[in-house]
Amino acid sequence: MLRLEHITVSYDRKIRAVDDISLEVGQGEFVGIIGSSGSGKSSVLKSINLLVKPIKGKIYIDDVDIMSLKNSQLRAVRREIGFVFQDYNLIDRSSVLDNVLVGRLGYKSSFHSMLGIFTDEDYKRAEKALIQVGLSEKIFERSDQLSGGQKQRVAIAKTLCQSPKIILADEPVASLDVSTSQNIMDYFKTINEKKNITILINLHDVNLAKKYCNRIIALKRGKLLFDGKAGEFKDEFFKEIYE
């Protein structure tokens, strides 16, 4: 369902953050992308929904070349791809509900969203999404009142509200403690298994990747170093990645 062909990303046209990477990910896979900082993990993930534009290569989602799409068509693609950030990026001053409803924006006309009108259907989805991440009692809380783990769960609920086919998560647990990290990863796992949503997740903790993902992709200096089943990932690779 997702295919990257010879993707190359460079921010200054000199150093290649991502260097000629090709990948194919099927429906319902849970892929962990690992690598040290600066290895190009974020750039790969961000190029999938074109937050970062590759200088070379092609990206296909359901066999549609998304780099050739017009702006409005690209937005239609983006609304089916959830993106979870390391630093949550919630609107601090708005309530949890407002933040989750933001996930419905891609489905709204400009006029309706300008006025802030959401349908009953939208509200139901938002409520359901919050129940799924176990935060239904915080629904009217201001989001800057929440803890880090709770904020990340709101961000996940937001992406669920998009009814996505793919969820991309850029180091979603990097600023959380060990048990909260596991808790968040559990939510991802459940979403992946129950809804058959494809998940690509950047992690710097190899153990977490081995524990939760079916497939591991390792990057080093923008190049693909390993791509295979989580069980096949050996400790030798580990050394090679981080040396």
């Binding site: 937050l51 937005r75 983006r78 400009s110 009217f140």
Partner: protein, 525 residues
Amino acid sequence: MNSLKKYMNNKRIYRYSYLLGIFIILIYLGYKVDFSFIRLYKGLPSMMDLIERVLKPNLLYSKEVIEKLIETIQMAIIASLMGLVLSLPFSLFTANNITPNKLLGSILNGLFSFLRTIPSLIWAALLVSIFSIGKFSGIIALGIIGFLMSLKLFREYIESIKENQLNSIRAIGASSIQVLRYCVLPYVFELSVSVFFIVLETNIRAAAILGLVGAGGIGQIMWKDLNHLRYDNVATIILILFLTILAIDLLSLFIRKHLNKKNIKFTDIKEHKRFQICKIIYMPMIFVVLLYIIFKSLDIDYTRLVLGIGQGMDIIRRMVKVDISYFPKMIEGIRESFFIAIFATIVGGAFSLIFSYLTAYNTSPKRTISLIFKGYINILRTFPPLITAIIFFRGVGPGPLAGAIALSIYTTGVLTKMYSEVLENTQRNIQDSIIVTGATRFQSYIHGLLPHTFPSFIGLLLYRLESNIRNSTILGVIGAGGVGTALTINITWRNWEKVGLLLIGVSIMIIIIDKLSQYLRKVFL
């Protein structure tokens, strides 16, 4: 062992030579602004006399004052609102992370930073000669200042929104309008209340002096009383002004502090939805009512307005044809303003280092001393320097000295307040780490807090320099030195070609100083 000693010695020599350098500069500047202890000493009796007379306010006069005061407050509030409302759409165009057109954004930014260099008093003086004497000119002048100030605050705030935050909305498939509505506006709306109060604090001070050029408000009667030597009346005005400004500052502080905590609690989703619909209905209504109030109180005479705009265009056309022959005069004035500003910044900086030690709770030897200084500092910084300059004017006569001292006092007040707050907000550990070695509180300030917070002090000092440069250009309006004297004379005589040259000169000086200060902040902080 020896090398260590040498190292420390060298460091000390460096430090002392820096201090010596600053001291020499200060003496030079003192010479340039005609500083003399003898003159100050000789002027002391007449200043004391003035203060003595000021201490006997004529309370019977308050009724008249209150009337004008209400007009002043009204002017400040309306102008701040007007500026705020206008600046909102512009901020979306000028913030470089969300602007739809980068080129348009930078053109607008250039234009606005040029306009921002013109002080409110000069705006008022210009507008008075366009639209005739009265509060309309004053409101427009303050409106312009309010607009430029809030625009800058909004723009900086929007630019500080993280790229990822914007991306998180874009990643959902939102259009750029939706990004504005759901990512930028929630921040900006909440910010707008504090921006309003920040602007109001500035505008109320400015409104108090606009009367000097005939732009309405309390300054008008103050100027009249000053010229008639009715110091008892002046005292009443100053006292009432002081209380008003203090009240507005406190109100502003209170509201801004409690704003962050407010949040409407909903019990179920239906209620939330109802609230959203109410918002759709009420927000435009509030907006329209605000606009109506603004227009109503502007009291616009349309034939006069059209005439004024015609005159304004004419004036601008003449200003653009700058009178180059006036160049030497301009340089002379600008140099004097520059010297006054630097002098005030250095003197204010030196005093505020000492005062901050006595003012901050955590360094002050006694809590009562700290409280006394806090009150004292607040008095110093409440008055616009122009009013303080009037007092010194009586003592030391016209010329740059009165302006330099007035501005030094104002700088001391503001800087002490800011820096003592920095000291109070510094982690306790910094101070404790010195105290645990058995040092005194004073030593913990000199060796711990001061070096630790010195970069922030320099930052604040540079901000003060930027503000002082602006203030020093208007001191001349009352004859206290600098380019302002030439500026007001030429505005009164309608020598627009000369005014044009002076304004450009002032702008260039201010922009250079701003850039320099930005650069220094980047290098040292």
